[in-house]
Amino acid sequence: MATFLATYDFLLVSMVLAAVLALTLYLPLMAGQLSVASPGFYALGGYIAAILSTKVFHPGPGLYPIQLVLVEMVAAAVVSGILGLVVGLPALRLRGIFLALATIAFVQILGVVALNLQVTGGAIGIFGIPQPFSNQLSYMWVALPLLLLSMLFVARLERSRTGRALVALREDELAAAAMGVSPTYYKVLAFTTSAVLAGMVGAVSAHFINTWNSRQGTFDTSVNLMAFVLVGGSRTFVGPVVGGLVLTALPEALRGIADVGGLPGWLAQFLRDGRLIIFGVLIALGTVFFPQGLITPGLLRHLGRRRRVPHS
């Protein structure tokens, strides 16, 4: 067990962080909005953490104090939230395809800006970000609570009045508006919450990966997140979490299979490098055959029922 954890420490923490990022795509989706802006806020959060830790807080030698990481997360959350409001208020008047396009444009613009500003280190980015922990696995102390808290938050949200408002908007925006559910308020709420969460994940990831540059949080990331949500499940918060965990682990598992040996060369190569091919195919198959993803509310109810039967 100890060797397993030691070998896969990077992967395990990445899985958890990916699951949280998947939730950031899920939040606007609850309101029926496809927003791929999360990678932009993720990148922003990472840059804030990177800049603060390397240039503003001057750390001494040794481990970086964990309280400062939390401060950075708060800073990232605040800035992402403000930017989310600024971008979201005008953008969320758009519907459907147009919002998706606007968020794609937003991520691209942020990427170019990050590539060119001096403070973000240009093309090289920022490296040598101080570590608060001495080994990779200890990041779980930050990542896992973040995941659990966000899952708790979204679960409560789903059952709350706000959650029902979001679902009403997803089902039929005009009818919901006619019933007194303010579309702009709830859509911006979902969007901003998602931005805040993505910013926090970015801040943690910057320390976790140790360097940060404009290649973090790009359109590619949006594709990954869409795969997590579409395959995992788009109607319940468990779906994106499972999708994020499983699909992040999948390339490693495939690489393991490829390394076992005895496979023809092209197949082994495919299993090693074909991550994006598989994700792309999964997205396409998912939309055609499993539009609600694998983990659906029906499945959860079914599992819940089976567990309760012996007690009746």
Binding site: G96, I97, F98, L101, A105, I109, I277, G280, T287
Partner: protein
């Protein structure tokens, strides 16, 4: 400025294929970028050139060599065929279910990513360039006078000419032929058109064939102009193409060309000290257009039916 027009006409041809599908089906076909890449690579292979060292097909050379123009056509036919396959697999099942266009967009995105990565897997990620095909023509055309030459690369003139010809052909097709009328009917309302005896499936197939062929032509021409930088250049174009078609008006064919030229000019006019931000210009324009005038310059405002 001529540079801007040259870049712009590149975007314009790309956008023509994009907007054609939107005009008939009301969906954004992300795979256009991937098919464009495939067409470029197919044309490359058909010129008999050796494939690179990184992909699965490393070192493979087709046993024949075609002159460039034939390779262009051949590559575009391959692209068109791929377009048809994509339509069958990714779009038709969703259309049969009457799915939201957003779902088709996501599905096409998945297919595009898969296709581009398959291309990378097969051909490798390094840059390719075509063997010089226009050797018979002068390498540049002089638009100015002998005293003040304004030189434009021949290939850019060719691209501009091709885009204008394509625009003319497509406009003629849509407005003056019977098939064009049928296509516009399908665009208006698919169900009613089929009730009126129009074979919608066949027409949609035709749309994908034309769009795929255009994509292949664009890819090869652009590959000729700037070299193929790698399979991902299709995705980059695909994203910028979105800006072009939204600016011109989704589904509007002349709009695609206008949008392309405008974005090309806008990129060319970025002042030198901000040259690094040139890549952001199309997306900034896209964002602004979406907020201010989502129907684009030439489109009609979409009235939402209750």
């Amino acid at each position: 400025m001529l540079n801007g027009l040259a870049i712009g006409s590149v975007y314009a041809i790309f956008a023509l294929g994009y907007t054609l599908i939107f005009s008939v089906l009301r969906i954004i076909n992300f795979t256009h970028g991937a098919i464009f890449t495939l067409g470029a690579y197919a044309a490359y292979a058909l010129t008999g050139s050796p494939l690179g060292i990184n992909g699965l097909l490393a070192g493979l050379t087709l046993p024949f060599r075609l002159p460039f123009v034939l390779a262009l056509v051949g590559g575009s036919i391959v692209a068109a065929v791929c377009g048809v396959i994509v339509e069958r697999l990714a779009f038709r099942p969703l259309r049969a279910r009457g799915a939201d266009p957003l779902l088709s967009l996501v599905s096409s995105l998945g297919v595009a990513v898969a296709l581009v990565n398959i291309t990378q897997y097969l051909f490798g990620a390094e840059p390719y360039s075509y063997p010089d095909p226009l050797a018979s023509l002068p390498s540049a055309v002089n638009f100015g006078t002998a005293g003040q030459p304004v030189l434009v690369r021949t290939v850019q003139v060719v691209i501009f000419a091709v885009s204008m010809v394509m625009l003319a052909l497509l406009t003629y097709l849509m407005n003056a032929t019977r098939t064009g009328k049928a296509l516009r009917a399908v665009a208006e309302d698919t169900t009613t058109s089929s009730l009126l005896g129009i074979d919608t499936d066949r027409l949609i197939l035709l749309t994908f064939i034309i769009s795929g062929f255009l994509g292949g032509v664009t890819g090869t021409l652009i590959g000729l102009s700037v070299g193929i930088a790698g399979p991902y250049f299709g995705i980059a174009f695909g994203l910028k193409g979105l800006a072009v078609i939204v600016l011109g008006g989704l589904g509007d064919i002349p709009g695609a060309v206008v949008g392309g030229l405008i974005i090309g000019l806008a990129e060319a006019f970025v002042p030198a000290q901000h040259i690094a931000y040139r890549e952001a210009v199309p997306f900034a324009l896209l964002f602004i257009v979406l907020l201010v005038r989502p129907q684009g310059l030439l489109g009609r405002a979409q009235v939402q039916k209750v």
